[in-house]
């Protein structure tokens, strides 16, 4: 089911948290709301779920205007950052909660819960209590609980933030494949750009309560419309006052087109090597080399190179209005 936001604004006291947000989340799509903390992304998610009232604007689920409907009537699955387990209930009872509310008969309820627990691979944990589960298991329980009501839309608030790196990676790809399998419209809030680019069909990048840019992850990465987006999605460096991704610059020992510069630092990270160079006027840029490129060039401090962009186009389309805004 599509989710449409039309001019959604929200203030807490005097601070404007969301400023005129308009966007459409397509049916079956996985969208990441990406932004730094305080950008309003979690508030937007809660507004869609009906957990936080909005000041102005409309929220539509499919054709239905739910702006003034309470959360319980929206039929939206919501996973909280801390998973919000019902601590006094077993894993089974947690997942069964929504079905019990709907007065699904006991036998059917049991079958559905067992099916869901299988889906999230918690079959053997049905009788446990939330505090007896690991972070990842708790997260999966929360997901099963949200999916139990067969929601039209699934909202995930920083779903992987509280997990350690390895579990996070596994769960991420698992959630991604589960979402594809179920084909459920999903909106995920994250401040981690790698996570967002890995998991989402589309990014909505928020900053200070406004949408900076939306689009496919690879497109937004290559064509950021503002400095903010460029810097938030990945590293940037400048050459002749124009922003580039550091891997878009190349080094050669000689050549006419390019800037002559001296290596001032070399950082080796194993899979990549960062070379910092300073030109005669003292401006510095840095270039990201692959392992193989670095091997061929073997840069060291004091060495002189010619730096030039692989393509003439800078990272950000020069748009004076957008630049002035950010």
């Amino acid at each position: 089911m599509t989710v449409s936001l039309d001019g959604v604004s929200k203030s807490f006291g005097k601070s404007l948290v969301l400023d005129d947000i308009t966007d459409v989340f397509a049916d079956g799509e996985m969208t990441a709301l990406l932004g730094p903390s305080g950008s309003g992304k979690s508030t937007l998610l809660r507004i869609i779920a009906g957990l936080t009232p909005l000041d102005s604007g409309r929220v539509r689920l499919g054709e239905r205007d739910v702006t003034s409907s309470p959360a319980r009537e929206r039929h939206i699955g919501f996973c909280f950052q801390d998973y919000a387990p019902f601590r006094h209930l077993s894993v089974f009872a947690n997942v069964a909660y929504g079905l019990k509310v709907q007065r699904v008969p006991r036998a059917e309820r049991k079958a559905r819960v067992e099916e869901l627990l299988g889906l999230v691979r918690l079959e053997d944990f049905a009788d446990r209590y939330p505090h007896q589960l690991s972070g990842g298991q708790r997260q999966r329980m929360a997901l099963a609980r949200a999916l139990a009501i067969k929601p039209d839309v699934l909202l995930l608030d920083e779903p992987f933030a509280a997990l350690d790196a390895q579990v996070r990676g596994e769960l991420r790809s698992w959630v991604r494949s589960l979402q594809r399998e179920l084909g459920i419209t999903t909106i995920l809030v994250t401040h981690d750009q790698i996570e967002a680019m890995e998991i989402a069909d589309r990014l909505v990048i928020l900053n200070e309560g406004r949408i900076e840019q939306t689009g496919k992850p690879s497109f937004v990465y290559d064509h950021p419309s503002t400095d903010f987006v460029a810097g938030f999605l990945g590293p940037i460096t400048t050459l002749w006052g124009i922003s580039y991704r550091p891997h878009e610059l190349e080094l050669s020992l000689d050549g006419d087109e390019g800037e002559k510069a001296t290596v001032t630092d070399v950082v080796r990270l194993g899979f990549e090597v960062r070379v910092v160079l300073t030109n005669q006027t003292g401006e510095s840029s840095w270039v990201q080399l692959t392992h193989d490129q670095a091997k061929a060039l073997n840069p060291s401090i004091g060495q002189r190179y010619v730096v030039r962009p692989r393509s003439a186009r800078g990272l950000i389309e020069q748009d004076p209005t957008k630049r002035a805004r950010s």
């Binding site: 801390d82 006094h88 505090h131």
Partner: protein, 300 residues
């Protein structure tokens, strides 16, 4: 056990020694080996234990022992006769009934008050929050006189509840209100509200959310608070004594019956009735704590 504890006279010395180790700057301490320091720490920990035991004995254990001795002064038979006399049983029945009613009502009113204090924002909230503790600060006799003036024979509202269980219950309710509020309030404050929000996204109405999510979360604290309120209510005297009229067999609570026994020189009988009240209070406290802990353990 007692021999291994340091004597009272050795206490200040040890405490002082520990203090100078904690701020070890004096040259006199520099030569001390870690073992010596540890010995000092160990002995001052023992001293602290001794101090606590001494204090508890002085304040609680010795009076309790005296009460027990007094109750059984003239043998088990006279203890039993005193405790189960008609007047005693009537007084105890009235006390338990009114205390139960007050504790139950306060469990409801106290929870509601805690909710308002934690979840609502309004003008004068911090004042209300401070007023909750007033029954603890106010001498209970003052409360008693106030209730007598308001709801006694000269009531400005023409409401006379003296000499009835209603008056007694109202007085007890006033005195024990803080227990329930203060037990539930911190638990409510610690709830993030996310579990409740999750329940509402699953389709639950606010009442259903309260019944199935909020109430189970606050139940252990509520039980403990109610148990405390009930135990406190059993022995309440000052606030009840005026409004109850103290009519034997009718409106005389346990504490005032005990007082009248002491006044007429029947100290042993008084101790017997007091022992019954005390045992009841203890049982309720232990039971409410055990149940609360069992409830809390499940959720880790």
């Amino acid at each position: 056990m007692l021999e291994s504890l340091p004597t009272w006279s050795s206490l200040p010395v040890n405490l002082l020694a520990n203090h100078s180790v904690a701020t070890a700057e004096g040259p006199s301490l520099r030569w001390r080996s870690p073992r010596a320091v540890r010995t000092v720490e160990k002995s001052s920990a023992a001293a602290a234990k001794g101090l606590v035991l001494f204090y508890i004995s002085l304040i609680v254990l010795i009076p309790l022992a005296a009460l027990l001795t007094n109750a059984f002064n003239h043998g088990v038979g006279s203890f039993w006769n005193a405790a189960t006399s008609t007047e005693s049983l009537d007084a105890l029945r009235l006390t338990v009934t009114c205390s139960l009613l007050a504790a139950a009502f306060n469990a409801l009113a106290g929870t509601a008050t805690a909710f308002v204090l934690v979840r609502d924002r309004f003008w004068g909230k911090s004042a209300l929050n401070a007023i909750i503790d007033l029954p603890f600060a106010l001498p209970t006799v003052v409360a008693g006189v106030t209730f007598y003036t308001l709801y006694g024979p000269h009531s400005p509202f023409h409401v006379n509840i003296t000499g009835s269980w209603i008056g007694i219950t109202v007085a007890i309710m006033f005195v024990t209100l803080p227990f329930s509020v203060r037990a539930v309030q911190p638990v409510l404050e610690s709830l993030s509200g996310d579990a409740e929000a999750a329940a509402s996204t699953l389709g639950a109405s606010s009442f259903y959310v309260f019944r199935t999510i909020t109430l189970p979360a606050i139940l252990p604290a509520l039980l403990t608070g109610t148990g405390l309120a009930f135990a406190r209510a059993l022995g309440e005297y000052g606030s009840v004594v005026f409004i109850s009229n103290n009519l034997p067999y009718r409106s005389e609570v346990g504490s005032s019956y005990i007082y009248s026994l002491v006044s007429s020189g029947q100290v042993s009988s008084a101790a017997s009735v007091a022992l019954i009240l005390l045992t009841g209070a203890l049982l309720v406290l232990v039971a409410s704590n055990v149940i609360a802990r069992r409830l809390a353990r499940r959720r880790g």
